[in-house]
Symmetry: C2
Subunit: 435 residues, 2 copies
């Protein structure tokens, strides 16, 4: 009997992080890290887990969006889905009615991400491989077949994508071995949340260096004098050789970004992240031109591959920060990695939140093994937070992500964690309201 996808379940899971001010920044003063947590089950008894990350209120809308997509998935033959993941992705993102809510952006696109990632998780489990390795063992032809080139061809053709992948093919085995031994470089945002006082900032910055990180990140953008003071303190704490990135989380207009950053330049910021609206490609290009050699980084809110294409075409970023569940999951992120490789721009994925570190490590490691072939100037964001809720949590050693070895995409949560944090009825939320 043909094995079918039997169910797509979505649960509203929220963590009351606003109580601790972990995760506080210029635009997100009180996040409750949350996930629309998706489990797909097949008639053969297999499953796959994925999630869309949100910051609290609105997680119910995300769950509703997953449920709106679910009828497009339930009843499909598993072999057909796994045999044409490009087609599966277009099925979700191209539905003639649901795409009106995007197209390919916002709540409905993030819901597609959760489902697509769950299907990749299923694929990994069935092949017994972590997703980074599953991807890294696909042929160049199989990989380009994942890509929807319709809106990309003016920047990246199928042949160019094939060339990139073929050039990287000979070194795959060697880089896989290197990854399994050494892991992939990380940087940490743990010291730099806006809600932390100076002492905590200095202490955590020093700890980060002691723990082997070669880059840390500070949130900025609310109080200019405080930003100058905090960056100065952090620079004194870590010395001249550690990279310090700063992140404004969209707080500024274009000229304001340029002016504000000029007061931070004396303390050698490595990159400025999200200086302005995440939709403002031309604005980022202007900021980049004005602030070079300080690098411009963005991507966690860049909603699809067409936007990334333009950021690259316009020379608007130095560092591309892909997200695991903002664009439509692994499938679209393969296209984005290929775009970045075409333009020679390093990908340093966005992580933190809930499960983002777990998922995005697979993309960066695949990039290293089979796409860009390097991790020079590439680091995965790391935040030491909420990993205990996952069955295959990230493992960090000496400032590196160790390569996951369990099959799948590492997005599965412990059933007890899901139950306790279900909103609004889980034990953690009983009698509490969100921030």
């Amino acid at each position: 009997m043909t094995e079918l996808i039997n169910s797509v379940e979505a649960v509203d899971v929220r963590f009351p992080t606003s109580l601790e001010l972990d995760g506080s920044d210029a635009m997100n003063p009180e996040p409750d890290y949350s996930a629309a947590y998706v489990t797909i089950r097949t008639s053969g008894g297999d499953k796959g887990c994925g999630l869309a990350f949100t910051v609290g209120r609105g997680n119910d809308v995300e769950v509703a969006a997953v449920r709106a997509l679910a009828p497009l998935v339930v009843g499909l033959p598993v072999a057909e889905v796994l045999g044409d993941l490009h087609g599966f992705s277009r099925r979700l993102t191209g539905d003639s009615q649901l795409r009106w809510l995007g197209p390919e952006k916002g709540a409905i696109h993030m819901a597609a991400a959760a489902i697509v990632n769950a299907v990749w998780d299923l694929y990994g489990r069935r092949t017994g491989k972590p997703v980074w390795r599953l991807l890294s063992e696909l042929s160049p032809e199989q990989l380009v077949d994942l890509v929807d080139f319709r809106y990309l061809e003016d920047a990246l053709t199928r042949d160019e994508a094939l060339d990139i992948l073929r050039r990287a093919e000979p070194g795959r085995a060697e880089r896989t071995a290197h990854l399994l031994e050494h892991g992939y470089p990380a940087y940490t945002t743990t010291p730099g949340w806006l809600g932390y006082d100076d002492d905590k900032l200095v202490r955590l910055s020093k700890e980060a260096v002691a723990d082997g990180f070669s880059q840390i990140k500070l949130k900025v953008g609310v109080d200019r004098d405080a930003d100058v003071r905090r960056l100065r303190l952090a620079r004194q704490a870590v010395g001249p050789d550690i990279r310090i990135a700063v992140d404004a989380n969209q707080a500024w207009g274009v000229q304001q970004a340029i002016d504000w950053m000029r007061s931070l330049v004396p303390y050698d910021p490595y990159w400025i992240e999200e200086p302005t609206s995440p939709d403002d490609i031309l604005g980022h290009a202007a900021v980049r031109k004005a602030l070079a050699p300080v690098k411009v980084a963005t991507g966690e809110h860049t909603h699809n591959q067409v936007m990334f294409k333009q950021f690259l075409q316009a020379g608007a970023l130095d560092v591309l920060q892909m997200d695991a569940s903002r664009t439509a999951g692994v499938t679209e992120n393969v296209a984005i990695l290929l775009l970045a490789a075409k333009f020679g721009v390093p990908v340093c994925p966005h992580a933190g939140g809930v499960g983002l570190c777990e998922m995005v490590q697979h993309l960066a490691m695949f990039d290293y093994v089979a796409v860009s072939g390097t991790h020079e100037n590439r680091v995965i964001e790391y935040v030491d937070h909420l990993h205990e809720h996952f069955t295959d949590p990230v493992r960090i050693r000496d400032g590196h992500y160790l390569a996951p070895t369990a099959p799948g995409i590492s997005a599965e949560m412990h059933p007890a964690s899901v139950a306790a944090h279900s909103y609004p009825d889980g034990a953690v939320w009983k009698g509490k309201a969100g921030a």
Copy 2:
């Protein structure tokens, strides 16, 4: 006692239009025109109505998004809301948790549009004015106070916006009188849906001319030979002096758009609408450069003012098609009209669907009276469809929208229409599934 906003109600209203293939195009073969229909009520017994338009599935997600925003609105003093509509808009679009679902895009931004428009409707009712007139009687200072300049200042400053409005001020009374007498020019999409056969296309094209329209629109993008044939037939039917726009609804890649359109050029298309991804600013600029003097039009899926800013900065469009409920309603659309005026680009609003004609006419008429000061090369889209469900339906005479005179934004539906089309329990939907 202070009058408060007591409730924000959202209803899932759907019309089974897929049964007739009205509204069929290259990307929307079977739309069920729908609305997340919003009614705001105050403790003083006043109300305001607004809606977010969708095309069927997903309208429930839109309703969920409105409900997620509602707690930010219920309990606010009415005078405070109407006295600071800029602040009210930022309250909705800038909520630190909900904005993660956007920011300022997709389902959550459209939900903000529905609420913002309902508040403008309330404002119009309380002042006894249709919204176009209410806007046209605000001072330049009051109008620029509506605008969120944070991400716009590199293209439009507050002073420049003030200058535009002050230049138009002396002619306001004269243009208001002209509008009340002659109305505002319209064009019609009624003849050109893809689902119609050639005979119906020709017959409806001739009828449109006889009805006084000087522009019609054809959907294209599925079958190139058929598009050539249909445009040829339409051109023969209407003669050389009637403008024929064509609309690909995002069907093409950049080069494909250029190639396909070149086979239509012999039949003198006036504009090509949505040639490619609505997010592809640089792609539209390339299409425009290649196809001039054929004009490039887009906007119904342009999700916020930052995107419009860039379309204008990049010289990527000739015709700006604002939408009443894609960006965050009247307030954000005031900013977009000012941007268009700064760049000298005509605004020809997107309409059709459910209630879009009703709402958007207010914006075009305000533009004529108080912003651009002209309707040269400006037309509002018109589709003869579903107006009977509204209490203040658009009135068309000799190819012109007559200026609405009833207070508000014309988005209120008859209670019986709402009840019958409520999904899935209304009488129209009993025993039926959506397309």
